[in-house]
Symmetry: C2
Subunit: 158 residues, 2 copies
DNA sequence: GATACATATACATTTTTCTGTATATTTATA
DNA sequence: TATAAATATACAGAAAAATGTATATGTATC
């Protein structure tokens, strides 16, 4: 696993510093760094890292997507959350110190109709449901999010 | 893995809502929820979750440690970081949107002598080394941090 | 300090994840 | 839209992680 971790970090570095327009290019560059993988593995790495294709004047370029982080974050977000509680009108999440904004951001991006907004402090996230009736629904949403299975399929870098 | 994830989330919930003073209690409560594990596995779960013992008037109590998050976060950090660059005097980390404060916080807590401070915005962390001479050292530190292997030993919940 | 109680860990096995091969599917180009 | 090029995925084997058993180590109590 540490092998995979190192490889994926190297891939990020290369994406940031070189103009990569297809899998083969990346595989060659990795090869020069003594990292030998097949196109299939790279395809999976791109998916996990949330790599996307952009279309520039100079042609197709693969880059990291700052917003869709792949599913790695989904797997780990549960670890950031310490508790989920609520009263009649809102849901309060306690997180590890310093991680509330990241969690709030992630929840925002779920774009759930039942959530009209979130506020993240240092270790607390406040979630405002769109109605008192939906408080329970929102709690379930959050808990599902925490449990989200790490299995991840490729489906076009989505 | 999803099994482990669910179990660990349940463990967190129980720690938040019950007074757990030893492994056996937790194992029994999990059993009622149809989660059957041995003491050895619980010991490992506690370690991974960063559970600590506190000493209250009512006796020993196991709780989540908001500051020492176990090593799960170490694994997460690498995925949050998109790039690490520097100039003569400082190091700049780009992160996934909304995750810079979490990364900055984590770096702060490494308590490295070579780092005199960090500032986290939304997707950018600025790291101030204690001297221009140490810029490279700090970059290495960050890269090592990203690669940190997820293997984790128990050593008294440290 | 000896004994009992509680927690951590070495080792072997089971389960899950990772990877390559082969191939299907998708995307680009004529 | 036919062909070629590029990427994704099913499947099987390899590698790594998770778990239980047995036991060692650590902690509390007398």
């Amino acid at each position: 696993m540490s092998v995979k971790l190192k490889r994926q970090n190297k891939i990020k570095e290369i994406l940031n510093n070189k103009f990569i327009s297809n899998h083969e290019d990346m595989i060659k560059i990795l090869g020069k760094e003594d990292i030998h993988i097949t196109q299939a593995t790279l395809s999976r790495d791109f998916a996990e890292l949330g790599v996307i294709r952009t279309f520039t004047d100079a042609g197709t370029r693969y880059v990291l997507n700052q917003y869709e982080s792949g599913k790695q974050i989904a797997r780990l977000i549960g670890f950031e959350i310490l508790s989920v509680e609520h009263n009649e009108s809102m849901v309060v999440i306690r997180t590890l110190a310093g991680r509330a904004q990241g969690v709030a951001h992630y929840i925002d991006r779920l774009n759930k109709q039942e959530i009209i907004g979130t506020v993240g402090g240092d270790d607390t996230v406040l979630i405002i449901p769109n109605s008192q009736e939906n408080v329970d629904k929102v709690v379930s949403l959050i808990k599902d999010m925490m449990m989200m299975p790490p299995h991840f399929k490729n489906k076009h870098y989505q």
